[in-house]
Subunit: 338 residues, 2 copies
DNA sequence: ATTAATTATGCAATCGATTGCACAAACAAA
DNA sequence: TTTGTTTGTGCAATCGATTGCATAATTAAT
């Protein structure tokens, strides 16, 4: 049994498909009588619009392409959640793809989105992406493009980021307030801005509190659990004096926590710890890890709102907008002395 | 500057759009000469097929609707990841929606998928869903439907689940092998099969080892962290003797772990702990939590494979297939004595 | 009663790709 | 030379909804 179309409705009422289409879309040139009849017939025939046909004619698919490095990372899946919520409420659907941080995947995903004729794209660029031609194409076609978290100044388009500088500044200041003076920083060499900003926040918090930054206290790696372990073991081996670690990632912070505990250090009394990301596991460590909340769901909602802003703005009047979300320091036992 | 269509290619080569279409689709009735010319022109004009037009005519959108209770839960986002990987490699895209365990959301999402004319649906049903009309509609339309994790015997369609019974059996047996005899079980009243199966696995492991099950050792709640805490506190208050807890969820296990540690119990020596899910945080607790891995990414891949199986099978020959994934006990320090 | 203005609907093209059927050209067989 | 195949393309309809323009029907104005 096939789905009813507007033609079936038209036939039953002895009108044309045009009339039915207009009636269903609330066109004011249709009489109230006809409109009611159409709506009634539509219900009786269990009519549901075919969005594919509609999309072909109107050029609007009601689809948003969403590209993330990895779907199953807490941060990204929460952003997807936020985007989905807003999109859904406005009758848009979200197509997700992942780049796995590989440029060619990223390019292919964007191309696939364009072929699927999405109405626009929301994306976070890969860690190592330096070419942006594929995104330029999106803009050239006049499609809305919103970047989140990992952005680039090379693309003139709306973006949402958190204030990484502020997050790091808050974290470091908090450690100082807890009496720490020798604060280690775990970071990465990655070219994306977010880590530079966190590093800058760390440095400024130190100098603002009259603590001389010491570059030998800054360790660069991949920010994974193992990196945290390695750096921390190196610190201990060198018998360096330090009373706190601010890690640009929760994972490295956990690695450090493990090593510290294994070596009999008390957290936070001997060494206070602060991470970054507010990964779900941070509240389950022992002690629970102080970290920086990036509000990923809200970030997703914001990205979606920016998206619809672009979508509803005349092309000529579009002015890219950058939204900066203020992060929140989540203070837990790993840094709270006394 | 508008996208080129097959008509533009046709015009340039003085052939018709039919020929171009056939050439691009590898129809053997097109001469090699023409095919090459078409391919060349397509490249020069930067032609990309319009999938919307193709979808309208062919009835295939290359879209899969994927419905999960919540996008940002590790288990579900990993399943999405697995589905996306397979789908992507076969040139399909995945639309995601979340039900938030609310029936009306579930119904709306399915309806939205149908309106978007997806080629089929992969879904996990809501915790409280007892009506399946919306899924029946999918089947009535002859669309592939694959259910995963949370399924129902009321729908005749392919599904992927893990062997919850076996997971629980392994977990409980492991505790017994570690010398435990009084094993508490944390579960839920929910109507979905998975918890019943885990309970059954727990019981059978006990009786198979000549341990008399004691229903007063079984606690039912929501399986969240707080529930684990509450149940554990109750146990301690009643001064019940127990030497292990097998929780049907990692969250409740963590709650219990917290309470035990707060009360000076040694884990695993005084009480051994095993959870279920293999949530990412379980490796970061202290001690790390023994748990049951459900292989969610593999489950997603399997679901996708079942989906394409259905898609490529003649309607008449379709025989729903149930795939059962064998879980793995991930033994960590929370249960490993000595 | 005639004209003008308004209102409701129909006609037909369009979006871009696909496909059954027809047909011309080229070639082979008789 | 005639008939029969094979091969490569074209024609035109189709998928279902949308929309500019035309027109019929109704009402208002003169």
């Amino acid at each position: 049994m096939k789905k009813a179309t507007i033609h079936d409705i038209a036939e039953r009422l002895n009108v044309t498909a045009s009339t039915v289409s207009r009636a269903l879309n609330g066109n004011p040139r249709i009489s109230e009588t006809t409109r009611k009849a159409v709506l009634k017939a539509a219900k009786e025939l269990d009519y549901e619009p075919n969005q594919v046909a509609s999309a072909l004619r109107s050029g609007k698919t009601q689809l948003i392409g969403m590209l993330v490095p990895s779907i199953n990372r807490a941060f990204f899946s929460s952003i997807i959640k936020g985007v989905e919520e807003v999109a859904n409420s406005l009758n848009y659907r979200v197509i997700v793809s992942q780049s796995s941080e590989v440029l060619s995947n990223e390019e292919n995903a964007v191309k696939a989105f364009l072929n699927a004729r999405v109405d626009g794209i929301i994306a976070s660029i890969g860690k190592n992406t330096q070419h942006f031609d594929h995104y330029e194409q999106v803009l050239d076609r006049g499609l809305p493009l919103v970047l989140f978290d990992r952005t680039t100044p090379f693309l003139q388009t709306s973006q949402v980021v958190i204030d990484d500088y502020q997050g790091a500044y808050l974290a470091t200041t908090h450690l100082i307030e807890q009496g720490c003076r020798s604060i280690v920083h775990l970071t990465t060499e990655r070219k994306i801005d977010i880590y530079k900003e966190r590093y800058r926040g760390y440095l400024n918090a130190l100098t603002d509190n009259n603590i001389e930054p010491d570059t030998s206290m800054v360790f660069s790696g991949n920010l994974q659990v193992e990196d945290g372990r390695v750096h921390c073991e190196a610190l201990l081996k060198q018998e360096r004096k330090f009373d706190a670690i601010f890690s640009a990632s929760d994972y490295a912070a956990i690695g450090a926590m493990q090593v510290l505990k294994e070596n009999g250090f008390k957290i936070p009394d001997d060494v206070a710890l602060v991470g970054f990301l507010n990964e779900p596991f941070t509240s389950f460590t022992d002690p629970p890890l102080t970290t920086v909340n990036q509000f990923p769901i809200e970030m997703g909602q914001t990205a979606a709102n920016l998206f619809f802003n672009l979508l509803n703005t005349e092309k000529k009047k579009i002015r890219p907008k950058k939204t900066v979300i203020q992060p929140e320091l989540v203070v837990r036992a790993s840094s709270l002395k006394k």
